[in-house]
Amino acid sequence: MSENKIEIRNLYKTFGKKKVLDGVDLDVKKGESLVVIGGSGTGKSVLIKCIQGLLIPDSGSIKIDDEEVVGSHKDIHHKMGMLFQGAALFDSLSVWENVAFRLVENSSVSRSEARMEAIRVLRQVGLAPDVADLSPAELSGGMQKRVGLARAIISKPEIIFFDEPTTGLDPIMADVINDLIIESARGLGATTLTITHDMASARKIADRIAMLYQGKIIWTGTVKEMDKSDNPYLKQFINGRSHGPIAVEV
């Protein structure tokens, strides 16, 4: 058994003429929190969607627990949870039905038991039980993210994906979400893969950071290594400078 939970080799994905992933190689170790950073449009979301089978890569290999998932029809989603950028809550369902969706649809748990469990997990992410019967549209952005997190962790997944978890939140709420991500991942002992361009968030939640640029992973290392690195692309990105080797497409 390899010590890697996720192993990505030579991953390619193009949309029309645009090469989005151009030979990505990336390993995520078991129990590790890996953060992929990179500018907008560098293919971070495409990478995460390829791993989850939401997009089919043109070529390359993705292994989860040493099992190839590209081209496989096996359901791997029971191992995974995902917090979407806009929370992606089902607006036709109430908050608790969103959180307990997997329990209600895929297991023999009764609705009342599922509701109790949803309320317990909502409490875990800092939401009072009285939000359970509200509609997602009645919640603020930060609360929606919490509900999305509750939905991602309720089935105790082995891998959790976070797609820009702090985008659109104020700095304090962003930090609250970061703390919740760390707590819930530690609590479950889960492997997490986060994509973000929020460096404060990346520093806080990452065991290891990988930088994606022009469809390739150009640097990986810990936060400490990142601060010492001489890589000009990485330096420009983490310091948020408009001048440097990364050309900004206007």
Partner: protein
């Protein structure tokens, strides 16, 4: 120079053809996968019930009004066109045949396409652009079974029921005009209607309704499912769903009529 012009002409010609072939391929695959998943468990009965109510019960007023006025108009037109030849008794038969064979199925389907096809495209389109469909997949739910199958089943089952309802209301519309405006004898009118009522007229309407219900649901779902690019994309999907299902309804109406009656 000439070669360049020919090349750009061929490119301009080829691009829409390639795009048409690609879209036809996507659509055919979508229909095949949807139909397959309509027969595969799990069946979401609660979602089917919701669609059934939405598409059926809440469409009753609009279908009722449409067919009522259609029946009334046909009665007046037939009378004014044929009365010269002293053939008023034909009015009941013409109302019966035109309502059951054509007006109730086609007009009801067009109204439902506008009401429900658009709503399906908008709802599924919004779910697509807000990543709710991706969320369904990550939660191990098959979007074809969860979103599309209940809508397709509702379309197939609801439309025939709506058309039967429309048949009754449409014939009633013709009756009302004939009795209160054209001074026909009510008993004669009802007799004429009952004597000329044939199973083929009603079954034609019901067969058409099944096909139209399928078209409305599948076009609404398809355009919603493939929408992209935020609010504008959802708007386009809604328009495309209504326009394409309306056109297909008219084409299939002709084809079914041709198959059944051109003997």
């Amino acid at each position: 120079m000439g070669g360049k012009k020919i090349r750009s002409f061929l490119q301009a010609l080829g691009r829409p053809i390639v795009s048409f072939v690609i879209n036809t391929g996507y659509f055919t695959r979508f229909v095949a996968v949807s139909v397959y998943n309509c027969f595969m468990p799990p069946f979401y009965l609660k979602l089917f019930g919701k669609q059934f109510l939405n598409m059926g019960f809440y469409s009753l007023p609009v279908v009722g009004l449409t067919t009522l006025f259609a029946g009334m108009v046909i009665a007046i037109q037939t009378y004014s066109g044929i009365s010269k030849y002293g053939a008023e008794s034909v009015v009941a038969t013409v109302v019966l045949i035109s309502v059951t064979r054509e007006l109730a199925p086609v007009l009801s389907a067009l109204m439902v396409a506008g009401r429900i096809g658009a709503a399906m495209a908008a709802e599924i389109g919004t779910m697509r652009v807000t990543e709710q469909i991706d969320a369904l997949v990550t939660l191990s739910a098959n979007p074809y079974r969860y979103l599309i199958a209940p809508r397709v089943w509702a379309g197939l089952i609801v439309m025939p029921l709506l058309v039967l309802f429309g048949d009754i209301i449409g014939i009633f519309g013709g009756y009302v005009v004939s009795i209160y405006k054209l001074d026909f004898n009510p008993a004669n009118y009802i007799n004429n209607t009952m004597n000329n009522l044939q199973l083929i007229d009603v079954t034609t309407g019901v067969v058409k309704a099944c096909v139209f219900g399928f078209i409305i649901a599948i076009m609404g779902c398809y355009h919603g499912y493939r929408s992209k690019g935020g609010a504008q994309g959802v708007g386009e999907a809604t328009t495309n769903a209504v326009v394409s299902s309306s056109i297909l309804i008219l084409i299939f109406n002709y084809l079914i009529t041709e198959i059944i009656f051109s003997r």
